[in-house]
């Protein structure tokens, strides 16, 4: 192979590795496409090469910015060392950021001054306490309410049915055999409705300390009502899957099992990081796809809220509906004015107030309206100051 060609080939190959290092996922067949195209019709200029690369490699507009950065660095400036990672420590996953210099030292944080939403990790376990009689009755009502409100979709598999859009030939012939081959009645096949998955993400950080037990009980009722279709995760400074721990039929035992598993209860908040952690596991992403996603959190994100907003937007695109229940929204004077909440409002289908079991029950009963309404309607509802109570 002549020298310049080898050089160019090496350069393109380096560009592909740099993309991977920058977190832009490109599948091998797509890389093959790029190389094939470059070979078949050599790009006229840099712009043409840019479009070749972008169209063959990119598969999501969200990754466009990162892609552009790498392309510019690699082809337009030649400043390679900025992008190329040292070969030894190559890693596909950016390392999580440690506490930066702008984080206040733990000693300076006073209780009650609004700094509970710190990035400080605690490893405290917590007993979530017993439920009283009133709680138990609300929980029974919740358990009865869930199945009726869960969204349904036609299942993929057809079953024999009295009415439907297709003939059930197998059934018809079987019946015909009994009547000397005479077809007396037609049977059909239909797609019976099947409940969609329900995904509940519960914030257990310190700012929700007083609500956490009730929020977990709420999740527990959902799990009891639809055990096969419900998944529950908690997040504070990290993500924990508690579906199996919470699935014990006895609430007290379930909560005890959860408190044994959740080690970041009442600690700091890193909603963006936790949601990102959730979305980076393909197995978990599959749980969110087409599901009713409910996030129980106050949305008080500390520091840069961009990761959280992006994660919410992605969650919203994955799910059937994305509902956000915040204890703060129970207050009649609440408006989603914090920058994080305002920025992610356009991704939400509904923003409701849940701080305990009875407000939870009210919101659960409101779900059918959310499910039949427009997508991403939260911004519409919250954008103008509500004339008291008439628009809810």
């Amino acid at each position: 192979m002549p020298e310049p060609v080898a050089l160019a080939a090496g350069h393109v190959w380096g560009f592909l590795s740099a993309l991977r290092a920058a977190g832009v996922t490109t599948a091998l067949p797509k890389q093959a496409d790029l190389l094939r195209v470059i070979g078949a019709s050599p790009p006229r200029d840099l712009t043409a090469l840019y479009w070749y690369a972008r169209i063959t490699l990119l598969h999501d507009v969200d990754e466009l910015a990162a892609f552009d950065r790498v392309f510019d660095a690699w082809f337009r400036q030649g400043g390679l060392q900025d992008i190329v990672p040292p070969p030894a420590g190559e890693s596909d996953v950016p390392s999580p950021q440690g506490p930066g210099e702008d984080d206040p030292a733990p000693q300076e944080v006073l209780p009650g001054d609004g700094t509970e939403a710190s990035s400080l990790s605690t490893y405290g376990r917590r007993d979530f306490g017993p439920a009283d009689e009133r709680r138990r009755s609300v929980m029974r009502a919740l358990e009865a309410a869930w199945p009726a409100v869960l969204p349904r979709a036609p299942s993929r598999r057809r079953r024999s049915a009295r009415s439907g859009d297709r003939l059930d030939m197998r059934h018809i012939w079987r019946r015909a055999r009994r009547h000397d081959g005479e077809i007396i009645e037609l049977r059909r096949r239909a797609r019976p409705p099947r409940p969609r998955r329900l995904l509940i993400l519960v914030d257990v950080s310190g700012s929700l300390r007083q609500h956490t037990p009730d929020l977990l009980r709420l999740a527990h009722t959902a799990l009891r009502a639809a055990p096969a279709r419900t998944e529950v995760f908690t997040f504070g400074t990290r993500l924990t899957r508690i579906t199996s721990a919470l699935s014990h039929p006895n609430t007290g035992r379930a909560l005890r099992a959860v408190s044994g598993q959740v080690t970041d209860a009442d600690g700091g908040t890193a909603i963006g990081t936790a949601l990102h952690e959730f979305l980076s596991v393909p197995r978990f992403v599959a749980l969110a796809r087409g599901a009713l996603v409910i996030v129980l959190s106050d949305g008080l994100e500390r520091g840069d809220h961009t990761p959280m907003v992006r994660a919410t937007a992605r969650l919203s695109r994955l799910g059937h509906r994305l509902v956000w229940w915040s204890p703060l929204a129970c207050s009649p004077t609440y408006s989603p004015a914090t920058r994080a909440m305002a920025a992610q409002l356009p991704s939400l289908d509904h923003l409701g107030g849940v701080r305990d079991l009875s407000t939870g029950l009210a919101e659960v009963r409101r779900l059918p309206a959310v499910l039949s309404g427009l997508r991403r309607a939260a911004a519409r509802r919250w954008s103008t100051p509500r004339p008291t109570g008439t628009r809810s």
Binding site: M1, A27, A32, S41, W51, Y52, I55, L167, A379
Partner: protein, 338 residues
């Protein structure tokens, strides 16, 4: 129709996605490692207009423009590559930027039939690929019975109902297939498309595998209301259609609205670009700005002064009450100089 249902692939599809010239170790395909035979890939011998795979991006842009579609360099490259590599093209973008239009213009340019599959919630394989015609089979049995004949094989091609994807494969000169708003279909539906998009073939258990006679040109569109599976995206070329820049939008308006004056078009395009910068619930696409220009022109011909006509025709640009209120708050800066 070939008995047995399996069709030969023309040699033009030697760029089938399956054969990858890249080894993970890092070797690069040599130019000889694959072939895109001129004329062999996507143009049928009787193709009426142009050999689209032979056009480079600029010629393609000019051809599209003659058909009234103003594509920027990125989109032209995307179409060029889709034709060249025989790959499906996935177009994403906000509603009203002309995603669907790409397919219909393309079908006119290459002189092939346009087959359209509109996706919706609950769409299944029976509506998209093929289905057995059960009532016809049932009647066949009854007819054979009454004549005292053998029933014979009930799973023959004459009992097959051809849905858009299968029709595309069987089209002799290769069709242009538009799979519109794929994000409206359930995510499970995407699985039915994978075999088709990857190899342009469909496997029917009773008949065998049906391959495309001529590789079709496939355009998928999505409004990005939900995220598509990686498996689907991996099989497609991807292009995000952004809102057009000022010059291109002016060219579109000039072509679409004959009576529009140059100065008026200038101000209108500027206004639309500013409107898109506002935090609206739904940002107006090209379709809306064309409608707005048409409406305002009609009103202006009826005697309204231009800025007033613009304001009165606003309902054609903005179709949401809250957005309209927001816009009227900025009315001065938007229409004042128009």
């Amino acid at each position: 129709m070939v008995p047995g249902g399996s069709f030969e692939t023309p040699e033009g599809s030697s760029v089938a996605p399956g054969e990858s010239p890249v080894a993970p170790g890092g070797s690069i395909a040599t130019p000889g490692g694959f072939s895109v035979a001129p004329g062999g890939s996507s143009v049928s011998p009787g193709g009426s207009s142009v050999a689209p795979a032979l056009l480079d991006e600029r010629e393609l842009a000019a051809t599209l423009e003659r058909e009234g579609y103003f594509a920027d360099e990125g989109l032209c490259t995307a179409i060029h590559l889709a034709l060249r590599l025989n790959r499906p093209l996935l177009l994403e973008g906000e509603p009203g930027v002309g995603k669907t239009e790409v397919a219909s213009v393309l079908s006119r340019v290459v002189g092939r039939d346009l087959i359209r599959l509109q996706c919706f919630e609950g769409l299944d394989a029976g509506q998209a690929l093929y289905e057995w015609d059960y009532p016809k089979q049932l009647l066949q049995v009854r007819v054979a019975e009454s004549r005292g004949q053998e029933v014979g094989d009930l799973y023959r091609e004459e009992f097959l109902l051809r849905r858009p994807l299968l029709r595309t494969l069987e089209s002799a000169q290769g069709a242009v297939l538009l799979i519109d708003e794929i994000d409206r279909a359930d995510s499970e539906f995407e699985a039915f498309l994978l075999e088709f998009l990857g190899d342009f073939q469909i496997t029917i258990p009773e008949l065998g595998t049906i391959r495309a006679r001529t590789p079709p040109i496939v355009v998928l569109t999505s409004n990005r209301t939900r995220e598509l599976h990686d498996a689907l995206k991996r099989r497609c070329l991807y292009h995000w259609i952004a809102f057009p820049e000022v010059d291109r939008e002016r060219a579109i308006l000039r072509a679409a609205v004959p009576g529009l004056e140059e100065r008026a078009a200038e101000g209108l395009v500027r206004a639309v670009q500013r409107v898109r910068g506002l935090p609206l619930l739904k940002r107006p696409g090209i379709a809306e700005s064309v409608e707005w220009a048409r409406g305002a022109t009609a009103l202006a011909e009826g005697g309204s002064p231009w800025p007033v006509a613009l304001r009165r025709a606003l309902g054609l640009l903005i179709k949401d009450e809250e957005d309209t209120r927001l816009l009227l708050g900025h009315a001065e800066e938007l229409f004042g100089d128009a």
